[in-house]
Symmetry: C2
Amino acid sequence: MIESLNEAFCTLPGVGKKTAQRFVYHLLERNREGGLNLAKALVDAMEHVKHCSSCRTLSEKDICNICANNNRTNTQLCIVETPTDIHAIEQSSVYKGKYFVLSGYLSPIDGIGAAELGLDELEQKLHQQDVEEIILATNATIEGEVTAHYISNMAKHFDVRITRIAHGLPIGGELEYADINTIAHALSGRKDYGG
Amino acid sequence: MIESLNEAFCTLPGVGKKTAQRFVYHLLERNREGGLNLAKALVDAMEHVKHCSSCRTLSEKDICNICANNNRTNTQLCIVETPTDIHAIEQSSVYKGKYFVLSGYLSPIDGIGAAELGLDELEQKLHQQDVEEIILATNATIEGEVTAHYISNMAKHFDVRITRIAHGLPIGGELEYADINTIAHALSGRKDYGG
């Protein structure tokens, strides 16, 4: 029983044997109620959380809170890889449009193509809705760039502005410690300085 | 629902908001079955794991496997702070005696006294059983040392050898990187060199 709980914890990302053991003994020795609460929360979430039928993010409702919010414009559509990316962007509080979640990136070798990323749905959205701008916010990895490129090719056929989030030095970051790719992007993406 | 699962994960030791989020999205997006398994393992363990009535370690049975093993001698009793310590010692495969788990250390300020550590049971054990040696394997912290000292005082009244596990440089460790307390212990605990 202790061993199976250990193994179950090991399936979590980044959790090895030692960490799992620490979780197990903590719960058994100090917080059994917390362990039962966690079990209940797990069952609730695994059985009832689904995907928003509009933006494909994880949601308890058929339409997620962001898609259902009429104060947010439908004219901007931000394309992200994962639901956590939405969470990160929302925390900056500067974006007031809607989202579309790919749940991954194009990876034909793993059998992840346009259909798996919901690009058909995205195309439909561009047909039916008054989207004026799509913001490609996939990660700055090779896979993220390829996916962004693919989507921009698809979106070209619509009357829509296609933008990509900026890449460069993080705020508070120092040139000295930045990696060469970031510096290259920061230089090639330089802007006129308004003072 | 997603939020409550997040919070439930945050009660685990060393798990913050970001890690909890990573767990939640991993399970929801990639491994819902694993999430339900984890929930089941949690309920099983929280409801059925108890303490061994002989050595106080966590166990599914009334008497744990080590205590029930007749191939292990009753003459040696190793006193440890937690069940994980037993696991660590067992992995070295050099100890063939029994254990006694304190489940903590003496800490009067937190209301943890001799009774909470089961020292009455330990005393009874020394009365009733043929223990010839007790090995104090509490941690080399101030609390662990105080606890070891308290137990050795108690055990003095019995005809029993009292030993403490050795402290010094870890195998493979280098003097250059050892902390001063370890070096001090390594020097004061030096032994005649047999070659």
